[in-house]
Symmetry: none
Subunit: 222 residues, 2 copies
DNA sequence: ATATTTTCATTAAATTTTTGGTTCATTGAA
DNA sequence: TTCAATGAACCAAAAATTTAATGAAAATAT
């Protein structure tokens, strides 16, 4: 899952980024409204965390412009405690939730999880494909009951595949959701990681889950 | 364990804060009802000590609003000796216990301990992970029978790990529960303390209890 | 004055990415 | 139908990068 943070206070942005990376999200940061708008417009984020008080372009304008352009990524607003009006305006203009500053990271995380779950069965924290099982809270993965150890990137990649069971995922799509802004198109890291994953989740089982579609991409299915 | 004190009398607040910090709790203080409500709402405290007589927002209202927002942190009320009615109302509105002013610190401490134990086996004051043993009353820690000397922070950190045996704890989570509001994200104190702890509890034993999950955090398990 | 807590710099280790040879599947010519 | 030729995918291992462990100094609190 890839998240954009639009926040000018370096310290706050850094704090959120670090916390989210510990949770294995891919995170980009924009330090003003203009940059935030462009990044959100050019990339397909799974979630945007948007501060309302921003230099160059106000958060509400970023929000409005994005919704005008039919970008319908979930947006979580960060507002000052007393900015009740902005909050209401924000929700009316299409934001999905808000949090007043200062906030505890655990609170932010809970809201992010809930926004990202939107659409899928609510309150569900487990993904299953065949006998492969992934818990999004504890980050534990097992197949056929046996626990499997994964590194951060391996975990993110697997989560993305499992969230999209049966859908064909091109390398471009994978790069957009599992890697961040600095991804280099002309590399085969994705192939290499698919290989790493296969070794861990498919190798010793006869029923393979991760399939190659030559010239197109990969798909996970039983 | 992190505790919030909502109390307008500076002297009382200071007295409790100091005493609790000596017991190695991380303590925040709010001096009026509004501030108390916001802090309690935004952070994940393990316990809240709430005076009923407060400026800006009355203690009962703080309590009611918190419970309405599904904040179910244990709450200990402080009331005047003759305010029987408020006490009853408070307990009905979801407070967990009360203490009439003035009170002895030891009495407060006993009740806090009992509230924090809630959920775990009653009357149990010991935490055990493998052959590592921690007594929450005497603050004594031993492994394999040998007593281990810990400083305050080391003790808090270890207690947090042991209360959450088997759960992966990110640095962000550790900071939220073992340090207080003023924690700086861009420091490696947590790493350093984990190192201190390991020297004392793991170094001479072959079976390590404190494990690193690279890029994510730490976990305590046998 | 002493012990604890925090910061800083260095070292060590694991993950991530790149590299480059190998294998595999598809396609068009024999 | 078979056989190169081609390009895509795979994979092992090296290189680069990131992250954690550690010792020691500095700051802070007792």
């Amino acid at each position: 899952m890839r998240i954009l943070i639009v926040e000018d206070e370096k310290k706050v942005a850094g704090f959120i980024k670090k916390g989210l990376e510990e949770e294995t999200y891919a995170v980009d940061v924009a330090y003003d409204g203009e940059e935030g708008f462009h990044l959100a417009d050019m990339n397909e984020y799974d979630l945007i965390i948007l501060d309302l008080m921003l230099p160059k372009m106000d958060g509400l304008e970023v929000l409005t412009r994005l919704r005008d352009k039919k970008v319908n990524t979930p947006i979580l607003l960060l507002t000052a405690k007393d900015a009740v009006e902005d909050r209401v305006t924000g929700l009316n203009k299409g934001a999905d939730d808000y949090l007043t500053k200062p906030f505890a990271f655990s609170e932010l995380l809970a809201r992010i999880r809930s926004l990202l779950r939107r659409g899928q069965a609510e309150t569900q924290t487990e993904l299953k494909v065949g006998d492969l099982c992934l818990d999004m809270v504890s980050h534990k993965v097992s197949r056929n009951g046996e626990e499997i150890e994964l590194t951060g990137k391996e975990y993110s990649l697997l989560e993305y595949f499992m969230r999209n069971e049966g859908k064909v995922l091109t390398r471009t799509m994978i790069a957009e959701h599992v890697w961040d802004y600095n991804f280099d198109t002309f590399t085969n890291v994705i192939d290499v990681y698919v290989n790493h994953l296969r070794k861990k989740i498919d190798k010793k089982y006869p029923a393979k889950l991760l399939h190659t579609l030559r010239g197109v991409g990969y798909v996970m299915r039983v």
